[in-house]
């Protein structure tokens, strides 16, 4: 067993270096590959969904005939249900979570707080291997008779019980989620402990970069709420495999039957915090980057950290807003609505601080900065449209329409995805010792940004016009037929967004081998990881650093000529 401060000899064999590594930097890269792999699969699924909505009954181009030979390349209805189920599951649990939390949580926490590794390296390694196992279980479900899960990413009973989903796919889905939950909980235990116990001497909580704050709060929410989902899917497995009736109503007798709605409670007690689990790391990263590239101290950094904390606390109390249409008592719906609205207050503080940070800054429009500004924009839109869904009267109309889909893609997909790209462009030089190409990055940014706004804004429009989500062919309804052109537009935008990822992929893999060699601090930033060579050596710090100032010391007028930042290891320059 190795501990954060123990230094061990460097691993020699391929297996101990790349597969069974205890090094948080290697585990971070494993999660990054894993996340990008699933991002591509989930993205392809999204394009197939969009194709079906724009051209119902037409063969999917290029690979359609190979994937669905029996229908001549047309995506069949049951496959369509599988596609939207697995698209959601994969993007949330297997793409965004591993990239932001698995990869950048692992990479940034020890480096940014001045530790040599995570508190429990063995647990860390186990966490990745469980995630890999979970991914295998999920993908394998596609190859069984009747295929993978098709009850939506929320897996509501009775859709997800044997009544609605016969076959083994849904059971494997539950098992995959349970295993992944165990993996994430292990990660959370590690992150929380590492941040509490292994901060470098001199680093108080408010001297931590906001990235670490975001990851820390995420880990806390993970540790508390993932087990709730775990309990839910476990009972669902019991129902499916052992014949219990937790979520089956009316099956046995007039009294003593189960309750499908209970799963919704359990799911959303976890599910609402999950939204923040995903967005908090992105918020932290963006709060840091805006300061780094505006060359100004983060405006109200303490307030930003506290606002994120307040949001985390409030996020545990609002889950009922997902269930306004389940015949809850009006007293409950109104309480949940009020609590939901309260979240606007800390969110507004956070948002105002972002604007305050870039106001009058000497902004450097590098790729991480562009993506961060993108997050500010799309998160603003996503947050504002959430108000209509948190309000009972408007939610009753908008519930289960494409408005919901557009809204949560703006918050969870667009913001988190752009935040993830910002992080990749920013830390790539540190991780791999080479720079990514800035021009390509900008092409990637604008393509993604234009595409995603076309897709997600379009979704909100068709949702507002009454188009329901999860319909195989909405245009069998006469009142939705006039929405065909705008659905076609959304699909075009989706293809723009999809193709905009090609320059990213080329850039990523090309830069890995051919990129310009990175200096130790290409972005001129003062946090601890940039005091190290790129990439850092095994066990990071030869001597544990002593922290003397905060992470955002930019533009101090007392700094010597030609220097506009200082390292956290340097004493704050005073007149």
């Amino acid at each position: 067993m190795t501990y954060a401060h123990g230094k061990h000899a460097e691993p020699k064999t391929f297996l101990s270096k790349y597969i069974f590594s205890f090094d948080h930097k290697v585990i971070a890269k494993q999660f990054l590959w894993y996340g990008i792999f699933f991002l591509l699969i989930g993205g392809l699924m999204a394009l197939m969904i969009r194709w079906t909505l724009a051209y119902p009954g037409e063969a999917f181009p290029v690979i359609g005939n190979w994937l669905f030979p029996e229908t001549g390349g047309v995506i069949p209805p049951d496959t369509y249900s599988m596609l939207f189920t697995l698209h959601g599951t994969i993007m949330i649990f297997y793409a965004i979570t591993p990239i932001l939390i698995g990869a950048f949580g692992n990479y940034c926490i020890p480096l940014m707080i001045g530790a040599r590794d995570m508190a429990f390296p063995t647990l860390n390694m186990l966490s990745f291997h469980l995630a890999a196992l979970s991914g295998l279980i999920l993908l394998s479900s596609l190859f069984f008779p009747l295929g993978g899960a098709a009850g939506g990413w929320t897996s509501y009973p009775t859709l997800s019980t044997l009544v609605g989903s016969p076959g083994i796919g849904q059971t494997l889905w539950c098992m995959a989620i349970f295993v992944l939950g165990a993996s994430s909980t292990m990660g959370a235990v590690n992150y929380i402990t590492t941040i509490i116990s292994f901060r470098a001497p001199g680093m108080g909580y408010f001297d931590m970069p906001l990235t670490v704050w975001g990851l820390w709060l995420t880990a806390i929410l993970n540790a508390i709420f993932i087990p709730v989902l775990g309990a839910g899917v476990m009972l669902l497995i019991f129902d499916r495999v052992f014949g219990t009736t937790f979520f089956l109503a009316g099956a046995a007798a007039t009294s003593g039957t189960g309750d499908p709605i209970l799963f919704q409670h359990v799911f959303w007690i976890f599910g609402h915090p999950e939204v923040y689990i995903l967005i908090l790391p992105a918020w932290g990263i963006v709060s840091d980057f805006l300061s780094f590239f505006a060359r100004k101290p983060a405006f109200g950094a303490k307030a930003t950290a506290l606002a994120m904390t307040t949001i985390s606390v409030l996020s545990t109390l609002v889950y009922g807003h997902h269930m306004f249409t389940t015949q809850m008592s009006p007293l409950l719906t109104q309480s949940f609505m009020t609590l939901t609205m309260t979240i606007s207050i800390p969110s507004a503080i956070l948002f105002a601080n972002w604007l305050g940070t870039i106001y009058k800054g000497s902004i450097r429009f590098t790729s991480p900065m562009l993506f961060s500004l993108g997050v500010v924009f799309v998160f603003g839109l996503g947050g504002l449209t959430g108000l209509y869904l948190g309000t009972v009267s408007t939610d009753l109309y908008l519930h289960d329409t494409y408005f919901v889909v557009g809204h949560f893609h703006y918050t969870m997909a667009a913001s988190v995805l752009l935040g993830g790209f910002a992080a990749i462009y920013f830390w790539f030089p540190k991780m791999f010792g080479r720079m990514m190409n800035e021009t390509m990055a900008k092409v990637h940014f604008w393509g993604t940004m234009i595409g995603l706004n076309g897709v997600f804004f379009g979704m909100m429009v068709v949702g507002h016009a009454g188009m329901h989500r999860r319909l195989y062919n909405p245009f069998v309804y006469e009142f939705l037929q006039k929405l065909i052109p705008i659905n076609t537009f959304i699909t075009y935008s989706a293809f723009v967004m999809g193709f905009a990822q090609l320059p990213f992929l080329w850039n990523f893999f090309h830069s890995l081998v051919k990129g310009k060699v990175a200096e130790s601090n290409p972005w001129e930033v003062g946090t601890l990881e940039w005091t190290l060579p790129s990439p850092p050596v095994n066990y990071n710090f030869e001597e544990i650093p002593v922290v003397q100032c905060g992470p955002h010391e930019f533009g101090n007028p007392n700094l010597p000529e030609g220097k506009d930042f200082q390292y956290q290891t340097e004493k704050l320059v005073e007149a």
């Binding site: 501990y3 929380i192 116990s197 709730v228 309990a231 009972l235 009736t245 003593g256 209970l262």
Partner: protein, 193 residues
């Protein structure tokens, strides 16, 4: 490997914090089950639901006594370990393993009586809860037994009293007592009340 004082303190602290967080996670797992149970139960006009009878308390009570005794013997094992009493350390450790295994036997008997009284897993929500929740708990007891076996090196005669097992023993103990408390709550809410 160089270990300074600061690092030793950090390690101990980390182990404590890490384990406490893990216990919170486990606590939430069981808390969710209890929440589900409460909702099912308060929805019903009568409990057990019509057509079912209360489960005999014989085996649940036996389980409660056994798991309580195992927690006591684990405590005594820890105590005699640090007082370097070789014989009683070995005795109390073995008795703990024995009791822990007996707990699973008593659960097996409980499941048998449930079947005898017609409470199969598929006999509605009452039976679902009795079976499902005891399975989850028993699964954890299985993990708990593995955890207890994980401290077996501490009962080697030359190791007894050694500080280096302190954290491991304490964490396994916390987990085991936690399972005892969960069982006691299940006993009270599912069988007695």
């Amino acid at each position: 490997m160089k270990i300074d004082i600061r690092e030793k303190i950090q390690r101990e602290e980390a182990s404590n914090i890490g384990f406490s967080v893990a216990m919170i996670s486990w606590g939430m797992l069981f808390a969710s089950l209890f929440l589900a149970y409460a909702l099912y139960r308060f929805k019903e006009t009568a409990w057990p639901p019509m057509g079912f009878e209360k489960v005999s308390l014989v085996w649940p009570t036996t389980s409660t006594i056994i798991i309580f005794l195992s927690s006591c013997t684990y405590y005594l094992y820890q105590k005699s370990y640090f007082m370097k009493q070789v014989k009683s350390t070995k005795f109390f450790y073995s008795v703990t393993v024995l009791f822990a295994s007996l707990f699973l036997v008593s659960q097996k008997m409980l499941w048998a009586t449930l079947h005898d009284s017609g409470l199969y897993t598929s006999s509605g929500i009452f039976a679902s809860i009795l079976h499902g929740f005891t399975w989850v708990h028993a699964g954890h007891v299985g993990i708990g037994i593995l955890a207890i076996l994980f401290v077996i090196p501490s009962v080697k005669t030359q190791n007894i009293g050694n500080e280096k097992f302190r954290i491991r023993m304490a964490n396994v103990g916390k987990f085991w007592h936690f399972l005892g408390i969960v069982w006691f709550l299940m006993y009270l809410t599912m069988f007695v009340l």
